[in-house]
Structures are given as C-alpha cells and as structure tokens.
C-alpha cells in the first residue's frame, strides 16, 4: 500500500480499518458492531478457556480429516482424469458442476444420510475442498509438457517414474494453487458444517454467541477463524512462491 507517496506495510492498512471499526463501535450505530477494543478483550478472555480449546480441537480434527481425504482422493483422481480419457469423460462434467455448486445446500441431506455428527462435518469439508483440487490437478497434468514425457520414456523411464519424476512435478504449480483454494474452501466447509449441525466445535460456539447476542465474542471468533484460514493459505502460497521460478519457465 502507498500512502502520501510512501510505502507502508500492509499491517498499517489493517490498523486503519480497526480504527474505523472502533469509531463505529463507539458511536453505538448498531448493536451488532461493538468497538474493536471490546472484541479484542473478549477474544483474550475466550481464547484461554477450555470450552474454546475443546471446540477448536474438534474443528481442527474435522478439518484435518476432511482435507486429508480431499488431498488423498482429489490429486490421484485429477491425475487419472488427465491421463485416462475414459475417466476424464466420465467425471469431467460432474467435477465442473460441483466445483461451482453451492455445497452448503447438500449439508442437510448429508445430515439426514450420515447423521448429525463429526462424520458429516468431515464429509462437508471434503466436498468443499475436493473439486477444486481435482480440477487444478487435472489441468496441471494435462498441460504437462508432452515432450518431457517422451524424453523420459526415451531414457527408459518406468511408468511410475513418469508420474513421480515428470507429471506430478510438472503439475506442481497448478496442484498447489488447487490446494490453496481447497484449504480456504475447507475452512468454510468446517464452519458451515458445524453451524448447520450447531452441536459441534466452533459452529456450536458461533451459535451460542449469536443466539445470546454476545457480539464481542462472536466477532472475536470470526477473526480467529479468518486468521486461521489466512495463515494456512499463506503457508501454501509461500511454497508456491518458492517453486515459481520454474512455473514461469515451463
């Protein structure tokens, strides 16, 4: 960000927004916007509580399980769709529909089928994250340089070596982009899943705070979840930037 002709760190722009928030809160324009300082104070009090760490642990576990499934199924499926024409034809349409479909609408159906519990949240995270991972992996592998594959074959590469040493590495920039988007969607998935179930983890806390008009706590929780999603996606973006030198040179 540039201010008065000088570069200022991004943190500074956040500070401005927090000041604006504080002023609106102090002006008591609306009960759903408490002053920022009160939100921070509420955050300080809820973060150390057992209730919060229990909720966070459940949410993290659902998130981790769902993401692990999404990566473990999404990447191989994306590779298969790119490499096996039949698989690509069979699944291509569905992946394209689901990648932009409102997955939240499916959660009530999931609750009816799987039951109201952690499994539903895991499946929700999975569904939120998996399609974009499949799609990006497929694009990456499909775009992989044909002549690199030919080169590897020519130098005697076994099929597994072609996948491990050529196709996956070629597609790495796209796969990582998919993972980053998948992570962000997965965080949405865990919150929405738990909100709709309203009995579990962070979702339960959200429900509790909003029902009782505990707006300071509510916003504090929102900020924590945002931070979590932001930090995770930044971590993936960091890896992405480190391999950028060859993504551009392919």
């Amino acid at each position: 960000m540039v201010l008065f002709g000088k570069r200022v760190p991004i943190v500074f722009s956040l500070v401005i927004w927090f000041v604006v928030w504080e002023l609106i809160g102090r002006a008591k324009l609306s009960t759903i916007v408490p002053p920022f300082s009160d939100v921070v104070a509420a955050g300080m009090t809820i973060l150390p509580t057992e209730k919060f760490s229990a909720a966070a642990a459940i949410s993290l576990r659902s998130f981790a399980l769902g993401m692990a499934l999404a990566l473990g199924i999404g990447i191989p499926l994306g590779v298969a769709m790119a490499r096996v024409a039949g698989v690509g034809k069979l699944l291509g349409m569905w992946v394209n529909i689901f990648v932009s479909a409102p997955i939240s609408a499916l959660v009530p159906i999931l609750m009816a089928v799987i039951g109201v519990g952690e499994a539903t949240v895991v499946v929700t995270v999975f569904l939120f994250a998996v399609f974009v991972i499949i799609l990006d992996t497929q694009v990456g592998v499909r775009q992989a340089d044909r002549s690199l594959v030919e080169m590897a074959r020519c130098f005697g590469a076994a099929p597994y070596q072609i996948y491990a040493k050529i196709l996956l590495l070629s597609a790495l920039p796209e796969i990582l982009a998919g993972v980053r988007l998948g992570v962000i969607r997965g965080v949405k998935g865990v919150v929405i899943g738990q909100l709709l179930i309203a009995l579990l983890g962070v979702g339960e806390l959200f429900e509790l705070y909003s029902k009782n008009f505990l707006m300071e706590e509510f916003w504090a929780l929102v900020i924590v979840v945002f931070m979590f999603a932001f930090l995770l996606s930044e971590a993936v973006a960091f890896v992405e930037r480190r391999i950028e030198y060859y993504a551009g040179a392919r």
């Binding site: 002549s147 030919e150 020519c154 130098f155 005697g156 790495l172 391999i243 060859y246 040179a249």
Partner: protein, 255 residues
C-alpha cells in the same frame, strides 16, 4: 544389407489415425560409427522416422532392427536429442544431464561424476547449478547433447538439434560435434533442414520425398576432411558437388 549396419529399417510405414500417411515403405541401413542425416521437405516424416527408430512410436508397417534385435520400444543403446531440448525446468544442468542415469538407478555420486565429465566436454563447465531458463538456446541444446552422451548409448538420434541457434553457434557446434564423435565413436542419425549442414557433417545422406515420405536418394559424400580446416572443406569440390546434387533433387519438391 552391409554387415556393419547397426540400424536397419525395413519397409517402415506410418499413418497417423489411419488417415495421415507420413511414411511409406522406408528401408535404410545405417553403418556403425557413421553420421547419417535425414533430409527432406517440411512435413515429410523425418521426425516420425527418427521416433520410430527410437522406439517412441510404433510403425504401422515394417520393422526396425537395432544391433540385431527388433525394436519394440526405447532401449539403452539409443539416446535422443530433442529439437525442443526437453529439459526438466525444475532441475539444474547437473541433474538434467544425469537424468538418464537417474532413471536407471545409478547412485547420485556416480551419476553426478559422469555428468560433470560430459558437462565439461560440451563446454558448459561452471553452469552445473544453473537452471535451463537461465541458459541460451545453444547452451540448452548442449545440455541435451550431454544428457544423451552420459547414458553411453551407441546410437544418438538428433532431431534438428541446431535449428534454434544462430549461424555462428551452429557452425561452432558442428565442429565440436564432429570432434566429439571422433572421440566417442558413436553412430549418429541426424535430422536437418539444411543442405549445407547435411553435406558438411554426413557420411551418408538420406533424402526423403514429400509426404508420404519415401527414400528418394541415398548419397555418400566422399569429402576428404584430413588436415583441412572448416573453410577449406566448404570450398572443397566434392562438398560443393554434393550440395548441388541435393539441391537439384530437393528443388523439384519446392513448388
């Protein structure tokens, strides 16, 4: 067929998707230790023929024999230098040159040792840790050549290796190739568009007709190289005759 032929192509034909006929009934014998060029108009199937010999694509008709064995896929006695270099963009020069050995499971110390030797031979010493995108086209092609030499194949297949470098680099590269081949004693099959390049480098020139590619003539330039410098060779009467002979044939194809 001469007894010393290391590669024999017998009646090879190729049609893509059953419709595009790229090659028809091509028969060739490539002598051991010689440099043969494939020359012909664009689209006549030179790359196709080279890839069939490499075992990268199966012929639709006929067969290829290499060192007395019928080809049914790539093999360690053949190495390829690609027109578009085909270097791993995420790997250093060292790893790229060693890649063929890496695929064969040679230990890192051993393969890097061998690779360093060839990197020096192709004149890239000091660039071991560079990445392909940091190199010029000519340097990238040297990496491709070093990679092909590093696997110690008897036969090196080169698809227009000098097509993307300027004329000075090209001539320098040709000299170095001839020197290197004298030392390494390889059999080389070389695709080119350039009549001068073919006449200058080859022991045998295979002229292909336009699509579907058939062998239209095989020429054995008898250019006396001994003791002559490149410019003298390019003024040599035999050299000029070969260039003219090829041109008389090819010019019929350019309408």
């Amino acid at each position: 067929m001469p007894a010393e032929a290391i590669v024999e192509v017998r009646g090879a034909g190729k049609s893509y998707d059953g419709t595009v006929e790229a090659l028809r009934d091509v028969s060739l014998a490539l002598p051991q230790g010689g440099l043969s060029t494939l020359l012909g108009p664009s689209g006549c199937g030179k790359t196709t023929l080279l890839k069939i010999i490499a075992g990268l694509i199966p012929p639709s008709a006929g067969e290829v024999w290499v060192k007395g064995k019928k080809v049914d896929g790539p093999g360690p006695e053949r190495a390829f230098v690609f027109q578009d270099f085909a270097l791993l963009p995420w790997a250093t020069v060292l790893r790229n040159v060693a890649f063929g050995l890496e695929l064969r499971g040679v230990t890192p110390e051993q393969r890097h040792d061998i690779a360093r030797g060839y990197i020096e031979k192709v004149g890239l010493k000091g660039f071991e840790t560079s990445y392909p995108h940091q190199l010029s086209g000519g340097m990238r092609q040297r990496v491709g050549l070093a990679r092909a030499l590093a696997v110690d194949a008897d036969i090196i297949l080169m698809d227009e290796p000098f097509s993307s470098v300027d004329e000075q680099t090209r001539r320098k590269f040709q000299e170095e190739l001839l020197d290197l081949l004298k030392i390494e004693r390889k059999t080389v099959i070389f695709v080119t568009h350039s009549i001068e390049e073919a006449a200058y480098l080859s022991d045998q020139i295979v002229l292909l007709s336009p699509r579907p590619g058939t062998v239209s003539r095989i020429i054995h330039p008898a250019i006396e190289r001994g003791g002559k410098n490149p410019d003298e060779i390019r003024r040599d009467k035999n050299y000029l005759d070969v260039v003219d002979e090829i041109w008389q044939i090819l010019k019929r194809y350019v309408v």
